[in-house]
Symmetry: C2
């Protein structure tokens, strides 16, 4: 099979039908579909429809509960811990973010740590939920260990992304959504498909020496924290990944560090868990808890305009404001459709055939 | 003059006397001294006693108010904005952090943005104030523009540090305190003194090309965001620096980006300010707002122990947990004293002579 181009509504109908087939309640199937496809819309193809069959396989081995009882297990006026009951992170995460937003409405800010969850799609979806309320949104999650901290040969952390979404006025929102590694795993997958080497500073061999082989993780190698090596600040990337891990899991009671369960059904979770499932952390801050929202937005517009129009190095027309490429991708794909590479197309055809859903 | 070694109490007495001479009230002179010297204790020599004469020069040109009226100008149960009245950041910052801690006591978390301030010393001091309350502390600040975002030849951001301090039980606290650039400016100063080149990825020339000259900033060059170049994730370092700038200054009403006033008295602030002074942002989160403090601390101990004992690359005995080097430095210096390099010693002697304070 060659690659395959679909409209948003075709993709949406397929994913929704799959979530219904694994017994997600109606509202959760819709929500999971919206969250999943927000990754394809924003160009983060590793986290979108390409991951759908993986979620189904986790459900098949009883590691995803398709009808979870998601509940608050601890709270204060500005905080909560949510137990996700092993549900889809795609469903648990936006529900937790809603709680953060409600608390921000009441006391200025809301902060929600989540345990007993699974992969939550892209951090950007959840933090951007805050924008329409004139709030700053934050989202982070831990993930299966693929990253070796500075001086380690063991993989102890996930790619542990952070997203901060900040509303503006006439300008589009500032949305910084990034893995705390030099490069996300999805970037390696692209190189693998193209048979190209990775730059130095992305990965190391299993003995900790430098590698440019994008397949190195299969031989016990590891991704590197942002910075790459000590001389270029990898200890700072380690700080970031550790921060995400601790907020997501030590605060909530989820598994942390090397105990985080793998996302794939063919690898068993560690036999000695230190908590429940994987963990996330969300925040919402009303901008008018600090200054009038119109003042804030006027200055955000000024910030964005000034940075975007800065003098650039030769060959670049303007600075890229965080969120610009993803927004442009969304416009382009809504117009021209979503092209699935042949491997993903085959995988989804097989999934559809198994569950009786047409692609 | 050669270098000079002093005890903590000698350094303290000198700095305290200087703050008194510039008319700081008694309690503020003590606080400013404690905050200033916490940098020397923790080995961040660029932010400690070496900066004292710079603060005095800013006071001499009326850019530091030694007796400020520090007040809350906007608040909700979990947030506040503090106007520092052009005081020393060394005094304003811990007072703002106290407010964050009080709010966390009441509603679980507290978040304070500060405007109209000056350089606040090390972020670590302020965030670590939370630890004894069994709270997580966060501190960030913007700073004079020395950093070129990805693709920019203009300096638009400061080194904008972030500190996250997380309490543990039997283990020492996790304290990650880092500039959001590949290397902090203090690292360049060390290379300048030693006449050594910088690694690639730390700095660029004024046209945006690669430089290894640690004096490049004097010729219009710039520090680089963590990551160094686009291929190694400098856009993520830019996201971090931008996040700090927006939380510190757009939320509070301080100057942001290229409008942040310089720390040195011989450079005038921009003629077209967009806010008041420089900005900071502080957070405090009670760990028992999420789970019982003893549970949290037990798991933090487990986190720290597991990471510290991970298998290492050859030549390294163990992983470095954020905060380890600074704590070891503090123990060593309290025992062996503080060695000032000859340039700093001469500068402080001159300061003492001018103000009638013995060093």
């Amino acid at each position: 099979m060659k690659e395959m181009t679909l409209t948003y509504s075709q993709l949406w109908q397929f994913a929704y039908s799959v979530f219904k087939k694994i017994n997600c309640p109606e509202d959760q199937a819709r929500l999971a579909t919206d969250v999943l496809l927000s990754a394809d819309l924003r160009g983060i193809d590793s986290h979108g429809i390409a991951r759908l069959s993986g979620y189904v396989r986790l459900w098949e081995v009883n590691r995803v509960n398709s009808n979870p009882n998601i509940k608050i297990v601890h709270e204060t006026p500005s905080t909560a811990v949510v137990d996700g009951d092993s549900g889809l992170g795609l469903v648990i995460a936006p529900k937790a973010m809603e709680i953060a937003i409600q608390k921000a409405n009441q006391v200025g800010t809301g902060w929600v740590a989540v345990k007993n969850s699974n992969h939550f799609g892209i951090a950007g979806y959840h933090s951007m939920m805050a924008l329409k309320h004139d709030m700053i949104g934050m989202a982070m999650t831990n993930a299966s260990p693929l990253v070796a901290p500075t001086f380690s040969v063991e993989r102890l952390l996930g790619t542990n992304p952070i997203c901060v979404a900040i509303p503006a006025g006439e300008q589009p929102a500032f949305v910084a959504d990034f893995a705390t590694t030099t490069a996300a795993n999805g970037k390696l997958e692209i190189l693998q498909r193209k048979n190209q080497d990775a730059p130095e500073g992305w990965i190391q061999k299993k003995d900790g020496s430098i590698s440019t082989n994008p397949n190195e993780l299969k031989d016990g190698g590891a991704l590197l924290p942002l910075g790459g090596d000590r001389e270029h600040g990898s200890h700072k990337g380690f700080c970031l990944g550790a921060w995400v891990d601790i907020f997501s899991a030590v605060l909530s009671g989820a598994n942390y560090g090397p105990w985080v369960p793998p996302f794939v059904s063919f690898l068993a979770p560690p036999a000695d868990p230190v908590g429940d499932g994987i963990g996330h952390f969300f925040g919402a801050m009303r901008v008018d808890a600090f200054r009038p929202a119109d003042d804030f937005k006027k200055h955000m517009d000024n910030w964005i305009t000034r940075f975007r129009s800065a003098k650039t190095v030769e060959g670049q027309s303007h600075l890229i404001i965080p969120g610009d490429p993803e927004r442009e991708c969304e416009l382009e794909r809504m117009q021209n459709g979503f092209t699935l590479n042949s491997k993903v197309a085959v995988d989804l055809q097989a999934l559809g055939a198994k569950l009786g859903v047409n692609l």
